[in-house]
């Protein structure tokens, strides 16, 4: 009994809160993907690699050219937004009528391209921005400012995107386009433009994630591998295109990883998270927040 109670110590609380903060990181990553994958129904398998390029962008601007972090961040967001638009224009647009699996494959190719592009141009070294934010301490518990920042950015970003998607005409068009592309012209919508806007927006969100992730993680050509799959799972667990759901799902995942890791080996935390995902898919196939039909 005592052993059991021992579990409920301050460290548990710390793990819970760290889970929430990790959730912020994941939510930030999932936000842009949810827009692309969930709403306009285009598969960007290479999404995390866009974040990687953004992180390199930050690194070089800040470390090499000595640009201030706050100037570099918008530039990076712009850079990745352009990248997202280019990705759409060059790779996705020709495949819009092809089955989704072809998009998966083509963007998978882009994933290789981006990874090896980074290897070729930036080398295989791990790079670190070297900005060390202070630590927030509450008694025995300590929290990372960098993560707090991601958390806030994710929250603000989520609300902004949600409002944009539901309140504006362009947002509504973005939601409509995956359902009937041909008919969009009858609404006076230039489908190409909507796709470009969305892709650029998705890219910009990836860029935003990059700006904040670079404070916490080393950049290297394979950094995307750590985040790719889990971001996709989050989008689905939250319900495709459901931004609030995705936000919540990020925290659920993060808590499972965090607490699973606390009570057992880290790997089992992941096994647990994956298994939870599968089970949830059966219970709530349309996402955490879905009403049961």
């Amino acid at each position: 009994m005592q052993a059991f109670l021992d579990v409920f110590d301050i460290y548990l609380l710390e793990a819970v809160i760290n889970g929430i903060l990790l959730g912020g990181v994941l939510a930030l990553l999932a936000l842009g993907l949810n827009l692309i994958f969930g709403v306009i129904d285009v598969t960007w398998i290479c999404y995390a690699e866009l974040v990687m390029i953004g992180m390199y962008g930050m690194y070089f601007m800040v470390q090499y050219y000595g640009i201030s972090y706050f100037v570099a961040a918008p530039l990076t967001i712009l850079l990745v937004a352009v990248l997202g638009a280019a990705l759409h224009y060059l790779v996705i647009a020709p495949l819009l009528t092809a089955p989704p699996i072809n998009q998966l494959l083509a963007t998978g190719g882009v994933l290789f391209v981006l990874q090896s592009f980074a290897t070729v141009t930036f080398g295989i070294d791990f790079r670190n921005l070297g900005i060390r934010l202070p630590v927030l301490a509450f008694g025995d518990m300590n929290f990372s400012y960098a993560r707090l920042l991601s958390f806030v950015a994710a929250l603000v970003g989520m609300v902004a995107v949600y409002l944009f998607m539901t309140r504006t005409f362009t947002g509504t068009a973005i939601r409509a386009i995956s359902q009937d592309r041909q008919i969009m012209a009858l609404m006076g919508v230039d489908a190409k433009r909507i796709y470009l806007i969305t892709s650029a927006l998705g890219g910009a969100l990836a860029g935003l994630a990059a700006c904040l992730l670079v404070l916490q993680y080393d950049v290297h050509p394979f950094v995307g591998l750590s985040f790719g799959p889990i971001t996709f799972l989050i989008c689905v667990l939250g319900g495709l295109g459901n931004f609030i759901g995705g936000f919540i799902a990020s925290f659920v995942f993060a808590e499972i990883i965090s607490l699973g890791g606390l009570f057992s080996d880290l790997e089992w935390g992941y096994v647990l998270a994956f298994a939870f995902f599968i089970v949830m898919m059966f219970i709530r196939p349309a996402g955490l927040l879905a009403r049961r039909r």
């Binding site: 699996i101 998966l104 494959l105 391209v113 990874q115 090896s116 689905v236 096994v271 898919m281 059966f282």
Partner: protein
């Protein structure tokens, strides 16, 4: 329904393939050939369900189970692969059922299905890694060398033997593919992939049909994993399981052509040869460029040959021979009295 000419072509082709290792003995090339055959079989197994819109990223898991269960049984229980392989296949099949049944029952399709299966291969990978006391974890796992009967242990040092085994397995895969292709089940699965309700209204037991093809595909993939393990005599979680392997299957099958029997084989040939020759070609002079070129080619293939290399090629040939589609419409209109 195979024409006489095609049957003859297949016969000649096969004879040539069987004769090959007796004429051409370069061990490295044979090694690559064996790998191509084994992977072709794995890709064919994947395409068995992939072609019906059941895009699974869980096949890395099935392959891993095939490989690891066989090897673990041999090392820890001394069970010959002749028994180990069926057991490992059964294990993969059971897993396929456990995940597949609720998936199909609850109508988990499209992206959802892709990601559920992705999680599945993630789990298998993590479990193999986490149980490193038995599986060797990321260090990989080697089946013990047979001290006695090599045949019983399914271990051969000779590349020719392996080549013939791989060829037989590959052929088996192609035969099964054709068998499914000509069965009524193909109609049902095509129908299901388009509209499950409508298929059910035509009397198709949607869940059962999907389960059957998933089971078949998983069993074959596990077999591929086990054979790969016996041939390489070494497996790591990353080479036979996990998301990367699953993606590799999807890539090759689609690059080759999902809807033709030899498509996945062509995919295996192209992707493996491309990767090998790019790597060797660029060597250590231009590190990283091989993957860059590989990725670019992959993207170009898929944009310009959306039905896969073989699929698009055959389409082009067919287009020249076949009557234009307008005739079909004429036929319909003619059959419509009164207009």
């Amino acid at each position: 329904m195979m024409g006489r000419g095609r049957l003859a072509a297949w016969g000649v082709g096969l004879a040539a393939l069987v004769a090959l290792p007796f004429v051409y003995r370069d061990p490295y090339h044979l090694h690559i050939l064996v790998l191509i055959l084994i992977w072709s079989f794995a890709y064919t197994s994947w395409s068995m369900m992939g072609r019906f819109g059941l895009v699974s990223l869980g096949h890395g898991g099935f392959m891993g189970i095939g490989a690891y269960v066989t090897a673990l049984l041999w090392n820890h229980a001394g069970l010959s692969p002749w028994f180990g392989i069926p057991i490992s296949m059964a294990a993969a099949g059971a897993l396929a059922m456990i995940v597949g049944y609720p998936c199909f029952r609850f109508r988990i399709t499209g992206h959802y299905f892709v990601l559920v299966t992705l999680a599945l291969s993630g789990i298998v990978l993590q479990v193999i890694t986490a149980t490193r006391d038995y599986t060797g974890g990321s260090l990989g796992y080697t089946p013990n060398r047979a001290s006695g009967n090599k045949l019983l242990a399914l271990q051969f040092d000779d590349k020719t033997t392996w080549y013939l085994i791989a060829l037989a397995i590959w052929l088996f895969g192609i035969v099964v593919w054709h068998w499914v292709d000509r069965s009524m089940a193909r109609y049902a699965l095509e129908a299901i992939s388009e509209d499950e309700d409508a298929a059910a209204a035509a009397g198709v037991n949607v869940t059962a049909e999907k389960l059957k093809i998933t089971l078949l595909s998983a069993l074959m993939t596990a077999l591929a994993g086990a054979i790969y393990c016996q041939y390489q005599m070494f497996i790591t979680p990353d080479t036979v399981s996990g998301i990367a392997v699953s993606l590799q299957m999807v890539f090759a099958a689609i690059v080759g052509g999902l809807f033709v029997s030899l498509g996945p084989t062509v995919g295996a040939i192209i992707t493996i040869l491309l990767a090998e020759s790019l790597r060797i070609g660029f060597g250590t002079k231009a590190v990283g460029w091989d993957n860059l070129v590989y990725g670019v080619l992959l993207v170009l293939f898929i944009i310009f040959l959306p039905k896969g290399i073989l699929g698009s090629l055959l389409d082009r040939l067919k287009l020249q021979r076949k009557v234009p589609r307008a005739h079909e419409q004429k036929a319909v209109q003619v059959a419509r009295p009164g207009t």
